[in-house]
Structures are given as structure tokens and as C-alpha cells.
């Protein structure tokens, strides 16, 4: 499903973020990406939804060859890859409903279908009753749920979560984890970069440890493995 082989990424400022990385992630897996700051985690994640392009090597997501992907085709890749960020990245001027609907309007779906699906995903994240509110009227955990609802509205095959619990208190973080588990159970691949050792150690999944731009450890049901 996601395949990277012999990937290098050197930024124009001379920093080599990814240094000969190989990995393969199958459809439906739940993968934690851990590792110290500056080890290449973010770059690794960004290469999956093509915010960054490797300098060398191949990256494949489904049928998309990301290295040779024309800029014009990027939007079509992103419709298969939902992304959730630490800082939520909701559109501040749109209501909860509009934020989620936006991801579907982009695909020119018909309004009936959009309405049905938006309410469906908002129900899934437990915020159906807040459709008319604006992001700044919600708590951090609620905003992250909206961001997740938006990311899965188009039923992507992959959901990337870049430190989704980074800004949340522990209790809220567990709520987000439950939600991601549920989405994973429906068959969506989840790739989650995190610094939260408690989550990684308690909800066991495959762990990819990125260090010095490589996969230093690839362990099924692995531990977080770093001192907190």
C-alpha cells in the first residue's frame, strides 16, 4: 500500500532529513511513528501526502508514484490520504459543518450526499450537536475531532495523524485514540506520529522508530522505547 525504498531527502539548506529509508505499510495497518525531534519523522510523514518530495528513491502510495507525480495530480492523491495535524488546521471562518463539508465540496459531490456524510462523520466523532459552531467556540479536543471528521469525510484509504494528541490533555487524548482505533477498524490505514509513550505502550501497534533519517526499529506491537 505505502512503499518507500532507498529514500533520501536533502533540504536546500543542506540538512539531510531522510537518509536511505525503506519501509512498507500494508492497507489497514495502524502504525506509530516515533523518534526524537529532528530525526526525520515530520519529513517522513510529509512525503506520504507529498508535501515533500524525496531527493532520491521511490515513494508509492496505492497506485500513485509520488516522485513522478505531476503537481496537477497532487489533489487527487490527497483525496485518498486524509491528514490530521497537531494544530488542527480548521478554517476559522467556517462553521463545524462547513469545515467538514468543504473537503467534500472540493470533490464536487452532490449536496444531499455531502449533508448525509457530514452528519454521519460528525456523529462518529460525537459532535453532531455542534454543527453550527465556529472552531474557536470549541475545546481543543473537539477541534481535533472535527479535523478528524474532515480527514475521513471522503473515506480515504490512509489517515495520517501528525502528533494528533500533542496539544491535548491526557483524558482528551485517549478519546482521540479511541476514535482513531474505530476508524482503523473500518479498514483505514492509520499512520500516527507521536511523542506520547503512554499511548504507544498501552495501545499496542506496529512501531516505526525514525532516527537519523532511517528506520532504526520496526516492531510489531512494539513499545515507545524512549525515555520520557
Amino acid at each position: 500500500m505505502i512503499e518507500m525504498s532507498n529514500v533520501y531527502k536533502k533540504y536546500s539548506n543542506g540538512i539531510t532529513a531522510i537518509n536511505g529509508l525503506d519501509v512498507r505499510i500494508e492497507q489497514g495497518e495502524f502504525v506509530y511513528v516515533v523518534g526524537p525531534s529532528g530525526a526525520g519523522k515530520s519529513t517522513f510523514i510529509k512525503m506520504i501526502y507529498r508535501e515533500e518530495v524525496p531527493t532520491k528513491g521511490t515513494v508509492k502510495v496505492g497506485e500513485f508514484d509520488l516522485v513522478n507525480l505531476k503537481p496537477k495530480k497532487i489533489p487527487f492523491l490527497r483525496r485518498h490520504v486524509g491528514v490530521v495535524f497537531q494544530d488542527f488546521k480548521l478554517l476559522p471562518r467556517l462553521t463545524v459543518y462547513e469545515n467538514v463539508a468543504y473537503a467534500m465540496q472540493v470533490l464536487e459531490k452532490n449536496p444531499k450526499q455531502i449533508q448525509k456524510r457530514v452528519l454521519e462523520v460528525l456523529d462518529l466523532v460525537g459532535l453532531k450537536h455542534k454543527v453550527r459552531m465556529f472552531p474557536n467556540e470549541l475545546s481543543g479536543g473537539e477541534q481535533q475531532r472535527i479535523a478528524i471528521a474532515r480527514a475521513i469525510a471522503n473515506m480515504p484509504r490512509v489517515l495520517i495523524a501528525d502528533e494528533p494528541t500533542g496539544n491535548l490533555d491526557p483524558e482528551t487524548a485517549w478519546g482521540i485514540m479511541d476514535l482513531l482505533e474505530e476508524i482503523n477498524n473500518q479498514g483505514t490505514t492509520i499512520i500516527m506520529a507521536t511523542h506520547n509513550s503512554e499511548i504507544v505502550n498501552r495501545v499496542r501497534h506496529r512501531v516505526l522508530a525514525v532516527e537519523n533519517g532511517r528506520i532504526a526499529r520496526d516492531q510489531e506491537e512494539g513499545e515507545y522505547g524512549y525515555e520520557v
Partner: protein, 295 residues
């Protein structure tokens, strides 16, 4: 693109204009002020130009034919005048026609001079190929037989031609400079309004919007801002021009001078200002978001 997407883009751009109230207002004011300047200068300079041409064209050499001249002499004179270098046309105007002109301009009182009382001369009206050659041709005409008198503006006319040439060139330079300033100012203001929304564009790209899906609402919004911004100076200029035209034309009645009539001048000016507004508005926003689309 599906029809409902078109509808969505239009609705979205209107919503954005309202939600970004102050930014929209700033952009519209910038467009309005610059186009008011550009439009007023164009109207002013084009009319100065028009008056200049009127004055220049008004300068023709009037060769008065000696009363002693027989018809054959007169025809010979016409031939010699036509034979002079740089002469474009020679028109004969008999003393009766001259009197009719005077009566037409100054009133029936001059009707008293009808028939044998007519004090005027037969006249050849000589036009030169370019106004600058007037003096030279006039001098040559004076030396011909049966010429009683040669009239033209003299050194005043010469000076006038020079001044008019300068005015014209300066005018063109000012208009071009103003249009450039307008383009720059409007594009820049729109860029600032869009800069404040770059995260929005980034998010749109991340959820899989194509560049054109993002671009359309901005394009329409820019065009609307340009249009609304242009409508303000267009109304002001139209009102002032129409009022001013009537007033000034009253003063100018009976002279050779006239302002450019509102139809077609004002209509063309309005069309030009509106298109400048719309085109710069939409192009300005299209160009401004280009940088942010590369996510």
C-alpha cells in the same frame, strides 16, 4: 466544472467579501481612488488634446483676393496656390459666402451689407499638410499676383504649435504612468488581503482541492472588488463630465472649439475604467495566490 460548483464559487466569493469586510473595504477604496485619478487625468488630457487640435486645425491661411482681379486672374491665383509646396487644400469662398458666414456667426444685422454693399473680399482658404508649415506657406502666398492680404495667426500660431506638441507628449506620459501606478496599487492591495488568508489556502490544498477550485472564488472576488471599486469613480466622473460638458460648451458656442462629446468619449472612458478595475482585480488576486498554491 459542474454547474453547482460554479454556483458555489460565486456564492463563496460573495461570502468572502462580506466576511473580510475591512480588507474588502480597503481594497475597494484603493481601486476607487486610483481609478478616480486615472479617469480624471484621462478626461482632462484628452480634452486638452482635443482643444489643441481644434486650435491647430483652426489655423488656416486666408488669402484675400484683390478686388481688381478678373475671373481668369483668380483662377491663375488658385493654380499657383495649389502649386505651392506643402499645400494640402485650397478652397474658394466668394465674398457672398464670406458674408453669409459672418451673418451666421454674428447675426442678421450684417445682412445690411448684402449685394453691392458687401465690404468683403473673395477668399482662398489654404490648409497646409501640417500646421507647422503655415508660416512658410503664408510668406510664399504673399508674393503672388492679385493677393490683397494674407492672414494667419503669425508668431502666436508658431508658439502655439510648439506648446501643443509638448502638452500632448507630457499627457501621454502621465496617463501611462498613472495606469501603471493603478495596476501596481490595486494588485498590491489585493495581495495584502490574500496574504492574510494563506493558511486558508494551505488547508484547502491539504484536503485535496485543485488549484482552480481554490482560484475561482478568489478570481471572482477580485473581479467584484475591481468592479465595485471602479463604479465609484465612474459615477463621479460621469456626473462631473456631463455637468461640466454642458457648462463649458455654453461658453464655447459659436467658436471652432468643442470638448469631446460624452458619446462616445465618456462611454469609452467608463468602459475602460470598468475593464481596468475588473481585469486588474481578478489578475491581481490570481497572481497573488499563485505563491500560496505551491503546497
Amino acid at each position: 466544472m459542474k454547474f453547482r460548483t460554479v454556483k458555489r464559487h460565486i456564492a463563496e466569493s460573495f461570502r468572502s467579501i462580506i466576511r473580510n469586510g475591512w480588507m474588502t473595504l480597503a481594497a475597494i477604496s484603493a481601486v476607487a481612488v486610483t481609478l478616480l485619478l486615472v479617469g480624471s487625468f484621462i478626461a482632462l488630457l484628452m480634452n486638452v488634446n482635443k482643444l489643441a487640435s481644434d486650435i491647430e486645425n483652426d489655423v488656416s491661411i486666408r488669402v484675400h483676393v484683390d478686388l481688381a482681379a478678373e475671373e481668369a486672374d483668380r483662377e491663375a491665383l488658385q493654380e499657383s496656390l495649389e502649386g505651392l509646396e506643402n499645400v494640402e487644400s485650397v478652397e474658394f469662398s466668394s465674398r457672398e459666402e464670406e458674408l453669409d458666414n459672418v451673418i451666421g456667426s454674428y447675426g442678421d444685422a450684417f445682412g445690411l451689407f448684402d449685394g453691392d454693399n458687401n465690404p468683403l473680399y473673395d477668399v482662398f482658404v489654404v490648409n497646409t499638410t501640417t500646421p507647422e508649415q503655415t508660416a512658410e506657406v503664408a510668406q510664399q502666398a504673399e508674393t503672388l499676383d492679385y493677393v490683397a492680404e494674407v492672414n494667419y495667426g503669425g508668431s502666436d500660431a508658431d508658439r502655439l504649435f510648439k506648446v501643443m506638441g509638448t502638452v500632448r507628449n507630457v499627457g501621454v506620459v502621465i496617463i501611462v504612468a498613472l495606469v501603471f501606478t493603478a495596476v501596481f496599487l490595486i494588485a498590491n492591495t489585493i495581495r495584502i488581503t490574500i496574504f492574510s488568508r494563506r493558511t486558508e489556502i494551505e488547508i484547502m490544498k491539504l484536503v485535496g482541492a485543485t488549484n482552480w477550485f481554490i482560484r475561482w472564488p478568489f478570481l471572482i472576488e477580485g473581479a467584484l472588488i475591481g468592479l465595485i471599486g471602479a463604479l465609484i469613480p465612474v459615477s463621479i466622473i460621469s456626473y462631473v463630465y456631463l455637468r461640466g460638458f454642458d457648462t463649458i460648451m455654453n461658453y464655447l458656442s459659436g467658436t471652432y472649439f468643442a470638448l469631446l462629446p460624452p458619446n462616445p468619449f465618456l462611454i469609452l472612458l467608463v468602459a475602460a475604467l470598468l475593464s481596468i478595475g475588473v481585469i486588474i482585480g481578478s489578475l491581481g488576486s490570481a497572481m497573488s495566490i499563485r505563491k500560496f498554491l505551491k503546497v
